[in-house]
């Protein structure tokens, strides 16, 4: 008789949704793995968790995690999540999405959710291009990178997401790569315990498309780049955390406390109600 063993993390995932859609060597599985590890280490109450994704490869994550989940239109995950969080502040709302979804089509929603300090946690898999549609240049594509829409080399300056998140008002900002699984898991754990707007960027390899066009044809080659270029610079100046082929500044850059939008809102509501009581 063969003993059937259940993977200790299978309870966090929806078996019906497997196999996943990700390519061999893709970094998204590592991002999902670290997120689930963080939940497990925190003994997370899954009834309180809502995972929201936008469109893109990593956007399928919402469907893979066995909790309340919603897969929105392209770029709108944070706006949707704002409604979820404000309507029920007891819920922990995590947005897991990609660089194109969060910072091109959804860029406006990102800066405003961060500015308001909405109590939402954002886990961004940055694969430096639009993977789902076949590898077009995006808001984080490095200068001179080759993509299917920058065949002569990209002439767009990419966002430094750490700087953008910090400047927009995030209370927690971290960047790791898929190579830094333990430190990434620790940062996700920290993020999950904070109240305000939080942002964790993970540089995730896309060897099938981005790598293939840029002389890193396997996941391993892309991770070798992460290994060679990553420099841990905790709490260094976010404006200097630009990614280049020689240097990927990683670490935790911001960790501050600031009253969240929903906390301020509900304090206001109770004060207004007290006053209304006096009137009655």
């Amino acid at each position: 008789m063969v003993l059937e063993e259940v993977h200790p993390f299978s309870k966090y995932l929806r078996a019906e949704m497997m196999p996943h859609i990700w390519c061999p060597g893709c970094g998204n599985g590592i991002v999902l793995n670290c997120f689930v590890h963080a939940l497990d280490e925190l003994k997370y109450d899954m009834d309180k968790l809502v995972v929201v994704s936008g469109i893109g490869c990593i956007g399928r994550t919402a469907g893979y995690i066995n909790t309340d989940s919603f897969h929105t239109t392209h770029g709108r995950a944070l706006a949707f999540a704002t409604g979820v969080k404000l309507a029920n502040p007891e819920l922990d709302v995590v947005v897991i999405s990609g660089d194109g979804d969060l910072f091109a089509i959804g860029g406006n929603h990102f800066i405003h959710a961060a500015r308001r300090n909405m109590g939402i946690k954002v886990l961004c898999a940055n694969n430096l291009n639009y993977g789902m549609t076949g590898g077009q240049q995006g808001p984080t594509t490095p200068l001179e990178s080759l993509t299917t829409t920058s065949p002569y080399g990209s002439i767009e300056h990419p966002f430094n997401l750490v700087h953008l998140a910090a400047a927009s008002g995030s209370t927690f900002v971290a960047r790791w790569t898929t190579l830094h699984v333990r430190r990434l898991t620790q940062s996700i754990k920290k993020m999950m315990q904070k109240k305000g707007f939080c942002f964790v960027e993970v540089l995730a390899q896309c060897p099938e498309i981005y790598g293939r066009y840029n002389k890193m044809r396997s996941g391993l080659e892309m991770m070798s780049w992460f290994k060679r270029a990553s420099v841990v610079e905790n709490f260094s100046d976010p404006s200097k955390a630009e990614i280049s082929s020689d240097k990927i500044p990683v670490g935790e850059f911001v960790d501050i406390e600031k009253l969240s939008y929903e906390r301020m809102l509900h304090e206001k509501i109770s004060k207004i109600n007290e006053k209304a009581m006096e009137k009655v």
Partner: protein, 381 residues
């Protein structure tokens, strides 16, 4: 209840009446973006929502507003947004998401003159086709057209009830005049109001299929945080809510259901008003503010010895095809006045078949005068 909901007679404008109607319907979440001539709804709710423990949030644009109300709806609150033409255009993508994920919510479009920025402070009826066809793909939707401040109040409540019943975004297609006009509104006491809430699952979480419909084609709705651990997506999905994007069977079943849950229940949804139609030889079909001038024109025609009648459409989507066909059968001709270049008249023509239809367009500052409609009635007669 700390700050009481309004009851009794009040002097309000249409935007305020809409806001108060929403509160009475149980709406406790409003997300919006300032836009003339709908801004007063947001302003009023920014004051009133907190008094009732509800949420007002001003988003960065109308795309975000629409997304936020879907999120709030999935968290279990009745949710609304209000806008005008340019904002309504921006909302279309996520109206499609609300259709696909069957999120109950109400969208108020206080119509102004378009296209583009158009005439922010002037009335229009130029968004009525967009209401039905604005988001890509096929779907059923419900749209109501108020013609008075009282109806801004009444139909907002009706819109919430329909939205909760059929799990479909419901549109209140008002116009600048109805939005800004001040009239008496009589607000019934809350216990006399019929308020409908979405049906909840009757099965334990392990048996719950988030998009498995009942006989009325509407699936019961669990909300986030209730332990059901369900998934919803804008992708084509099966009854479990999981994406099935390459199955023609799943696509056909889902999209047909999204259309049919409105079509098959149309007889329960559709509302209209008939005036002097029993023996009418000429009929006017009108909706919104224009219907008031049409009523006056029909009365004048009767004084002049013309047997005229009015079919006032309250529900424009689903379109009351049967009612228009019936009117067409008994009349020599139909007059359709609209504040656009000819939108809903196409539906009237489709339903009227052989009966000739006269369209009168009006663009700009004022709706049709009764005399203009009367002239058209006389033309048919």
């Amino acid at each position: 209840m700390l700050q009481k909901l309004l009851t009794g007679p009040h002097f309000l404008n249409g935007d305020l009446a809409c806001a108060e109607g929403a509160l009475l319907a149980g709406c406790r979440f409003f997300a919006g973006y300032p836009i003339t001539p709908a801004t007063e709804i947001a302003e009023h709710l920014s004051q009133r929502m907190p008094e009732l423990g509800g949420i007002y949030v001003q988003m960065e644009d109308e795309i975000a507003s629409m997304a936020a109300i879907i999120g709030a709806s999935y968290s279990g609150l009745k949710a609304m947004t209000a806008t005008s033409g340019p904002g309504f255009s921006l909302m279309q993508e996520n109206i499609g998401l609300a259709v696909m994920t069957e999120a109950p919510c109400v969208i108020v479009d206080v119509m102004r003159g378009g296209p583009s920025t158009g005439q922010p402070t002037m009335p229009g009826q130029q968004d009525v086709m967009q209401a039905k066809w604005g988001s890509h793909g096929d779907y059923g939707i419900i749209a109501l057209t108020p013609a008075s401040v009282q109806e801004m109040f009444d139909f907002t409540i009706e819109a919430f009830n329909l939205s909760e019943t059929y799990r479909v975004p419901t549109l209140l297609m008002a116009d600048e005049i109805v939005g800004h006009m001040w009239e008496k509104v009589v607000i019934p006491s809350p216990e006399k109001l019929k308020i409908i809430n979405r049906k909840k699952p009757q099965v334990p979480p392990e048996k719950y299929k988030a998009f498995k419909p009942d006989d009325d084609l509407v699936p019961p709705m669990a909300c986030f945080g209730e332990g059901y651990h369900f998934h919803a997506t804008g992708l084509t999905h099966d009854e479990s809510g999981y994406p099935k994007t390459s199955s023609s069977e799943v696509q056909s079943e889902l999209v047909n259901r999204l259309c049919q849950k409105i079509e098959k229940n149309a007889h329960k949804i559709i509302r209209y008003e008939k005036t002097m139609l029993d023996d009418a030889e000429v009929a006017v079909v009108a909706y919104g503010i224009v219907a008031r001038a049409a009523l006056s024109a029909v009365r004048k025609a009767r004084e002049n010895g013309i047997k005229a009648g009015l079919l006032r459409l309250i529900t424009i989507w689903p379109f009351p095809t049967e009612q228009v066909a019936k009117v067409a059968k008994q009349t020599k001709g139909i007059v359709v006045p609209e504040m656009n270049c000819g939108q809903l008249v196409r539906e009237v023509e489709r339903a009227a078949k052989e009966t000739p239809v006269t369209f009168i367009s009006k663009l700009g500052e004022e709706p049709h005068t009764p005399m203009e409609i009367l002239n058209a009635i006389e033309g048919v007669n």
